[in-house]
């Protein structure tokens, strides 16, 4: 297995505050990797480093062995796409146009071509629209391409964000809490969608609070606590690890129950 994305000893400090220290992560093609941890553990900071929003204080980020550029636009062009924890669509563009914006980086028309709409422009535009429509169909939004993003239901907005990210033809997709605020059916659908994305050969990194979701989705789970990588392994290993249970999941239910009973009988 070759690593598509590799983070080597990434440290991110904001002045005196060390948000990430010495975090390493490897991602192979077609792999789904989960990133869990309590609030403030540095998960989103890690994403921001990966996507060029922040420049890490130390460490290296490699995409297929090449260093990632330190600029969000060029990172996306290199093949890393993301969604956002709080949905950030272009609210007064239609669903299709949102996806077309994602297509921007793979289109080649410059200002003059855009101005005069020559035959090459028409071909590129038609191809982009076709691709965008395919992606909308893929995430299950095929019929709402003409609806403004702001008017879509919440779950659809989440899926539209994924379609928009996919439109950049990424080799790595970063999903920041893709099921936040979803009901069980929607979460189930999101799982199917992420598997389908993985099946096309795209490597996926998922940040999520819903541990059940992560453990049934990912091939490999990393646990971040206070900016440090605590444990890394398969879902079963992570689930069984006492440090994780202590740091993140809390005490097992039997113990809590026992404590509650003790309190009652006293």
């Amino acid at each position: 297995m070759t690593a598509v994305l590799e983070a080597r000893n990434v440290t991110m400090a904001f002045g005196g505050l060390v948000a990430l220290s010495d975090v390493s992560l490897q991602l192979a093609e077609g792999q789904i990797v989960g990133l869990i941890g309590p609030n403030g553990a540095g998960k989103t900071t890690f994403f921001n480093c990966l996507t060029g929003l922040y420049t890490p204080s130390k460490g290296q980020l490699l995409l297929r062995g090449k260093r990632l550029p330190g600029d969000p636009a060029r990172v996306t062009a290199a093949g890393v796409a993301r969604t956002f924890q709080n949905i950030r669509l272009f609210p007064s563009m239609t669903a299709l146009e949102n996806v077309l914006v994602g297509r921007h980086v793979r289109m080649r028309q410059g200002p003059l071509s855009s101005l005069f709409h020559g035959p090459a422009f028409g071909r590129g535009e038609a191809a982009a629209r076709e691709r965008a429509q395919q992606l909308l169909n893929f995430v299950g939004l095929g019929k709402v391409g003409d609806v403004l993003a702001r008017n879509l239901p919440y779950g659809d907005q989440r899926r539209l964000e994924i379609a928009r990210a996919l439109a950049t033809d990424p080799s790595v997709l970063l999903l920041d809490e893709p099921t936040a605020g979803m009901n069980p059916q929607e979460t189930e659908a999101a799982r199917h969608l992420i598997f389908a994305i993985r099946d096309t050969g795209i490597a996926v990194v998922v940040i999520e609070h819903d541990t059940k979701f992560i453990f049934t989705l990912c091939d490999d789970v990393s646990v971040l606590v206070q900016g440090e990588l605590l444990v890394r392994g398969t879902p079963d290993e992570v689930r069984a690890d006492p440090r994780v249970i202590e740091a993140y999941l809390g005490k097992p239910p039997e113990e809590i129950e026992a404590e509650v009973h003790k309190g009652e009988t006293r």
Binding site: T76, M93, L166
Partner: protein, 581 residues
């Protein structure tokens, strides 16, 4: 409004509507002014004691009579969207009567002028009451859902409909332009007559909108875009053959054209890319000064004479270069702060021009004597004869500006529906995410400034030759503000909106001369009202309309489309196309 309408009962609708229509109609035929005003008889026999010559009623009283008649017909005819139509007609009647009543009362020295003095004259008040009753009747009966007339017609039927509507539009433009006639000493009532006509036209258009006719036509013209463009261009070129075909109106129309083209350029920066540029008129100035200096004017500081097309292109390029310079702070500065930067640039430009820094602007002496554009042996200021019809002087400049506006509109439409245009809109919506989607926001933002400035520079070249004199006074801060108002008033990001906004904002000062001191006050008041009641602008962009009016992009109410619930892929779908290796 909601609290007022809560007093109305559906049962009151019919009596109110009938009574209102009749009152409007009767009011139109009653005397309006109790005596002859100081400046002579107010238009259209308003001082007749009683109605005795029905077929000689003209001017605003004819408009009132038409509104009343239409309201009466609509009240009983089985038309869809009746409440909406009546609401438009009611507003029209209220506006027309209010404008005239206020004007007569003000000029006649009080309420006596519109009630009882030498003789009784209650026409204005009766009509106003009638208008209010029609409005109340419209609300009492309930305002229906928007009407959707069938589209997807046979091509020839659609073409015929479009031809008729665009011809109507042409007549409307000609009437609006000439309404009230030329202001000034010759006609002291020009301003009031014009405002009254605007009220009438607005009421009529609102009624047509309520009947679903305007949205229908706009859908048809979108479905038959090339045909519509050709016909619209033809209509614009036909304006000199209507009542507006005089020296004066052609000059006014050509001026409007220059500002309309400039406003479309500003629309790229403000409407699409969402960057507030309040020093934009400087680019018009740069274009004008460059063209003036290259034209061989006596006062020009550069001793070369270039033909107009060459000078225009150079003016556009130079303005565009300044545009990219002014745009470069956008790499670091956003929002309000950018507005201040552009304001500063505008001021720097106008002060430098005023003080003749660089020696290219002539300072307070301006650059006079810019020669007229001359092509194929014809000077553009000369009157011409076309197919046996003698056209007034200035008509060639009018044609030139029509071509300019058409060119700029085409450019804008192409850009908007392209990769670059979407990138601009994405930046307007959320700049950080736009960057995360791979858009090099810095370059794209500077490009917006460059395109806007180039457009203004091109317009500036026409401006210089048409006016003959280029002075810094034409490029002051107020002009920038007016241009921004034009863009926002018409509808941000909308092409016809920018043209309509520019037309209104540059016609109004011309028409309202007699209100001199109150002109800007009225102007500001109108803007406040429009922003309050129609934030999406007069001719909103499809997206913005959907956003602010709760409709989807096709103009249907929202519930119809969005309710389609999350039906999810049960089997894992296959992503089409190659995943990138």
């Amino acid at each position: 409004m909601t609290r007022l309408t809560s007093y109305l009962r559906p049962g009151m609708a019919l009596p109110l509507r009938v009574a209102g229509s009749v009152l409007v109609l009767v009011g139109a035929l009653l005397p309006w002014a109790t005596f002859v005003l100081n400046d002579g008889p107010y238009p259209a026999k308003s001082t007749l004691q009683f109605f005795d010559a029905p077929f000689e009623v003209g001017g605003f009283r004819l408009h009132m009579a038409l509104l009343g008649l239409a309201a009466l017909v609509v009240t009983f005819a089985p038309v869809p969207g009746r409440g909406r139509i009546l609401r438009g007609l009611g507003w029209g009647a209220v506006l027309v009567s209010a404008v005239n009543v206020l004007f007569i009362a003000y000029n006649g020295g009080g309420l006596g002028a519109v009630t009882v003095a030498d003789m009784p004259a209650f026409g204005g008040l009766v009509a106003l009451l009638g208008g209010l009753a029609v409005l109340a009747g419209a609300y009492a009966g309930g305002i229906e859902q928007p009407v959707h007339l069938p589209t997807g017609l046979n091509r020839f039927v659609a073409w015929a409909v479009l031809l008729v509507s665009f011809a109507g539009l042409l007549m409307m433009v000609a009437w609006t332009l000439t309404a009230g006639g030329q202001g000034g000493v010759a006609n002291p009532y020009a301003g009031a007559q014009f405002l009254s006509f605007l009220g009438f036209a607005g009421g009529l258009l609102a009624a047509l909108h309520g009947a679903g006719v305007l949205p229908w036509i706009s859908r048809l013209s979108e479905d038959h875009r090339p045909f519509s463009i050709v016909v619209l261009l033809g209509c614009a070129l036909a304006l000199p053959f209507t009542g507006a075909g005089t020296d004066y109106w052609m000059t006014v129309a050509a001026n409007i054209g220059v500002y309309a083209a400039t406003a479309i350029g500003l629309n790229v920066v403000v409407g699409l890319a969402g960057m507030l540029d309040i020093g934009y008129v400087a680019f018009l100035g740069i274009g004008a000064f460059v063209a003036a200096n290259l034209s061989g004017a006596v006062a020009a500081k550069v001793d070369i004479t270039l033909p107009f097309p060459v000078a225009a292109v150079i003016a556009a390029v130079v303005a565009g270069m300044f545009g990219s310079v002014v745009g470069s702070p956008t790499l670091r500065v956003r929002g309000d702060y950018l507005a201040i930067v552009t304001l500063a640039f505008g001021e720097i430009f106008v002060r430098s021009a005023q003080n003749n820094i660089g020696g290219l602007t002539g300072g307070p002496n301006a650059i006079p004597g810019v020669p007229q554009v001359s092509m194929f042996g014809t000077g553009f200021s000369e009157p011409i004869t076309l197919g046996g019809t003698k056209l007034p002087s200035g008509v060639l400049y009018y044609f030139l500006t029509v071509l300019l506006v058409a060119l700029v509109m085409g450019m804008f439409a192409n850009l908007k529906n392209s990769r670059i245009g979407r990138a601009w809109i994405a930046i307007r919506e959320d700049e950080d995410v736009a960057k995360a989607m791979g858009i090099s926001t810095g370059r794209i933002k500077i490009l917006a400034f460059t395109v806007g400035a180039t457009t203004a520079g091109l317009s500036g070249a026409v401006f210089a030759h048409k006016l003959g004199t280029v002075s810094y006074e034409s490029f002051k801060f107020l002009e920038s503000v007016t241009l921004i108002s034009a863009v926002i008033l018409g509808g941000m990001g909308s092409i016809p909106g920018a043209v309509l906004g520019a037309s209104l904002l540059f016609v109004l000062p011309e028409k309202l001369r007699e209100f001199s001191d109150y002109r800007l006050l009225l102007f500001g008041l109108a803007l406040v009202l429009i922003m309050r009641f129609r934030p999406q602008g007069l001719v909103p962009d499809r997206h913005r309309r959907a956003e602010l009016a709760g409709e989807d992009i096709e103009g249907r109410p929202l519930e119809e489309t969005v309710s389609e619930q999350a039906h999810l892929p049960t089997a894992a779908p296959v992503l089409p196309g190659e995943a990138r290796a």
